[in-house]
Symmetry: C4
Subunit: 379 residues, 4 copies
């Protein structure tokens, strides 16, 4: 069950980018799928296409072995063998050889390579999220589906009766009329079957309006569900990050919750520019993990996890006083000016502390410069 | 009126699944509708198809009698005769024999069997909900419909004038131009009538953009209405369940309301796995009805209605310590980690009580092990 | 400006239904538009159709005179002459005779009768609302429109280059390619111009996805704006109604605002059944205007504006104890069980008062029965 | 990075309208794009079209020089050279001459003038906003895109297998089947490739429903993101305006935040009518910048930035007592009656002060009439 799947309480910290096996996987996936598509084109069919596909298959097979071995070594829980990713990987490797062995012609057998795309499903967290939304919103979605079915069937029967006599090849049987109904209700409108009588067109107009309504309900249910679920996951991720910022330790639980709801997370690659000197600023930053370099004169300062920067622009509306660049993959928590003002209005202690810190940064005692790193420093 | 229809204050407790008459009904419905569709296909017309349809009709007639009898016996209010379900059932049985008696050819008469699909409307709660939304949002929906009509008519007239001379068979009369307008405004776009002049295409482009706008308003109204109404119904259902959990009795009314808004309900079949040992957990569970088995060593523990489990994972972020499986159809109330933290921050008493209970579960006095069942036990 | 248009602080009280001139207007409008459409069909052109149109025109001319006269007599502000409705009415009457006098053939001249549909715009409050939303959300809507234009132009140029050589009649000029782009971006998809090259189709796929995105933004902006504006208007209407219920006079301003946000308004015609004896109830009712009859034994009780009923079902979950029917057009304010519980939890005084009133209603002193009417009575 | 781009803390104050270079730019842009489109039409190709295009190009080249010079002179930060607008302007000027010099035929070379439309992107703030939303919502958008890709590929493979044998020219290769899938999933439905077998049509129906779901998710994510971001920007803009109204200086920080969230901003041109005497009013106005004239008898009063008007209608529901017209481009902050009531209920001090001010305005001491301007005056 998805609510028990291993949660990434800690952000990925850019380790995916550093995994050469993973980057290669997506390249191989793209090549493999393109080769599979090309193999179905009569003129393009060639021996080297099949060779490329075999190479991709081999790569994926080796990947399974490597990952299983790696998982055994690291002993990390949950183990790779038995996980969803493992099964998706296996589904990508087994069927094609089986089909070829069973005598299926190659251009058909290799269509099974389309299952490789399921590897993306394992890589993207949104799919389990979608499954969860569909489970939670199953009742309203089922209701809308029943409305869809009722309108579909009644529209099909009505058009079969209204248009059947004049267009027997397009509305002469109920299945044909239902095909028209489904293309119309979904507002696809191929135009292969179009009512021609006045009655048929009147009913069709009504069906289209119903289609918009069904669509609207569908959209609303999925959108609301997605928004709720996404917000919930972000909260879980941000919670841990907030509790790791020393400056915020004085907050009570209610304050932490409030702040967690306000923060947005941003994952940055190495050497990304976070703020640029001289620009106006509308947010401040907490470093959840990683490190940034504040390019101050005469010498830059490095800030590590738990530090914050960018508060000057919020306190007095001044432009950014220094450019800030990440030195390695970094996760930042962003607090917008909107939320900053709302939050400091309700937590005056924190606001005072922040202002004190900002004042200290503006007029630093020179020999205190080396103690700033690791706790809190400027921008 | 729907706001007075009997409300299911208690969850269905899986009794629908246990009703063999009901399961059979859906199977018969599917067979009947498929047979009806097949009957309209010239090549597939056969005596046995009609026989199948007669059998379905007979089944539905018997069902009405059985349900009426059952309703009389049980004396349950509201009674089945006179309910919406009763009338939908009757509409499914009466018209076909009448039409056949009136001399309508069988393949036309049996199209009336499409009314059988209305049985789904009675089974799905969402339809009365949709009716209610349409009643409550009648004014904005009517406004958008008037906008739709105005754009439709003016677009029809404009295209009739612009395209009528060059394409008299497609835009030569106003009804034809209106047909084009309705397919375009709903973004269906069959392509059977397409403007060809520069002026006509410019107007058509504007109409399409208007169509997107009308569609957007429609979607927004229905989606907002659906979300509000769904939330309201869930609250009513959850309210009763919350008041039946002994652990939550110490809450004041405001706390119960708050918690009721946070909980999500999940109906599980017998032998469903709720949590799996070793997985990370992001929610805890209250049992509203039914029973679960916590697969602890050396012997499993059973928890009944009013108990809770899964709180360890929320208190210290540890993985699930035991697998939990339902022993019969069970309704759970799920409290997410987000809401758990927000709630315990505001109700520290409850949090302390929960922690005390969790501590007791971790180090249970051995001979107290048998008294745990029925009140609160571990995971 | 719409924010200064006369606001209906008091609900319409059903007076529209009682205005025979108004009902006739909509019938004449429907007949007139149908006749206008029929006049454009060559086979249906007939003298009596024109006669019907002239009769409709005469009716609308007479209506303007009657309404102007009525407005003068009543002296009501704002006056009808000079209002938007007046100008829409005038636009419906003047152009057709002018066009006929200028020698336009009748079937063309009568197309100007399509302006009659603007009368609907004056009758439906939603149009001024839409205008207001568009004004308030002008900036984001303009942004999305610019995105739309940029994608449109770049897609047109790209397809003109990719498909122009192979399909010169469909993509050979930029205007033709732009026509394809607008039908595709709006997901209308007539299919009159379809890319055929691999490059063209790849770009087209990308354009379709952009179209979905533009559409999503559009939908979101309009839907959010509509929801906010609708809520605001409802609040203004309900505010006055709440302050007229004697039972709620003890509330402070914050309580009135809170309750105003919770209530939903329902306009009912004469002899509508509000609640039905024996049904479960999930809401209570305040009478804003009009009158209802509580069908109690031995004799029914009538409740007027300012009374409330239906609270038993919320206090103890019992089914409705009596059927309640309106005796004339009535406006009710509905308080759902959700909001009832939330509200009484925060206003315990009101809850106690309500329970006291409910207890009094359950065991009424017989000779006090005649004083109940006009203040607060049972259900 | 967009969160550091120069923020317009102060509203544009109509200076754009006063910039003749800017107005000319949009006219030249429209003419240039129309000429470019006309140049691709064989019959319309003419020497003067090219001349017009060269004139537009020259205008844009001159504009770059003028703006660079102006930017140098004013020394305003951020400087025009190096900004996004600068690069968009440069992209509009360089490529066409280069292409012509490289020997590209004129009607192709001038297609590069379509890049001129990017100038709109620099002018509209919504584009950076959209970029920001896409960056913030990158994860859920990527998830939905992966779902889209998976459904697309599997649908393409399924239809290639189901329809390929019977329609080899439309589904015979996988790329052809994928083209069908993308037009269907986006509900565009050109109708150039339509499944004909029962199996193919059943799969197509399922694909259409999936398309609606994907579309719904997409819509929801973008709409939610847009709404949040727009609200955030409005807050930043309104915050400064609120702090500049003297009457609101007594508010604490929490009150300012609350009020800032309630206010809506409206930019009006010179001589716009804000309220009209005798109309009902549902809002009051604060002047953020600019000036209005209250047309009182015997002599009108002028109100400058920091003043407010329109409070009578909210305090006692009376109609507007005077017409108010702007005397120059003016930015107003609008407080709706809904929010006015909610806010004054929670800030009784401010409500009393407002009533005192209103009473003073109704019965002004005659010789105090000249001191009213600049602080607070009537309507």
């Amino acid at each position: 069950m998805s609510q028990d799947k291993p949660l990434a309480f800690f952000p990925p910290l850019g380790h995916l980018r550093g995994d050469p096996l993973n980057s290669a996987k997506y390249a191989v996936l793209a090549i493999g799928l393109a080769a599979m598509a090309a193999l179905t084109v009569p003129g393009a069919r060639a021996a080297w296409l099949e060779a490329a596909l075999w190479a991709c298959l081999a790569f994926f097979a080796v990947e399974i072995i490597l990952r299983t071995w790696q998982s055994r070594l690291s002993g990390q829980q949950p183990a790779y063998p038995g996980s969803a990713a493992f099964w998706f990987d296996l589904i990508g490797v087994i069927p094609v050889p089986l089909a070829l062995a069973a005598g299926v012609p190659p251009e058909k057998a290799w269509l099974l390579a389309s299952l490789w795309i399921l590897k993306l499903a394992a890589a993207v967290p949104g799919l389990s999220l979608l499954g969860r939304i569909i489970r939670l919103e199953a009742r309203p979605l089922a209701s809308v589906f029943v409305i869809f079915l009722i309108v579909l069937l009644l529209a099909g029967v009505a058009l079969h009766l209204a248009e059947g006599p004049s267009q027997p090849d397009k509305f002469g049987t109920l299945p044909l009329a239902l095909w028209w109904a489904v293309t119309t209700l979904s507002t696809t409108g191929y135009g292969d079957a179009v009512p021609e009588t006045f009655l048929g067109r009147s009913i069709a107009g009504f069906v289209m309006i119903c289609g918009l309504g069904v669509f609207g309900l569908w959209t609303g249910i999925l959108a609301t569900g997605f928004a709720n679920e996404h917000r919930r996951r972000e909260f879980i991720r941000n919670w841990d990050l907030v509790t790791r910022v020393p400056f915020l330790r004085s907050l009570d639980a209610a304050g932490v919750i409030e702040l967690t709801r306000m923060l947005r997370r941003q994952d940055l690659a190495e050497r990304s520019v976070v703020v640029r000197r001289g620009r106006a600023g509308d947010c401040m930053f907490f470093i959840a993990s990683g490190e940034v370099e504040v390019q101050l004169e005469p010498e830059p300062i490095r800030l590590g996890a738990g530090s914050f920067f960018g508060e000057f622009a919020l306190l007095d509306g001044s432009p950014r006083t220094a450019t800030v660049v990440t030195t390695r993959p970094t996760t930042l928590l962003i607090l917008d000016v909107t939320d900053f003002r709302a939050f400091t209005a309700q937590h005056p202690d924190l606001a005072r502390e922040l202002e004190a810190e900002a004042a200290r940064r503006r007029h630093p005692v020179k020999d205190a410069g080396h103690t700033i790193n690791g706790t809190n420093a400027a921008q």
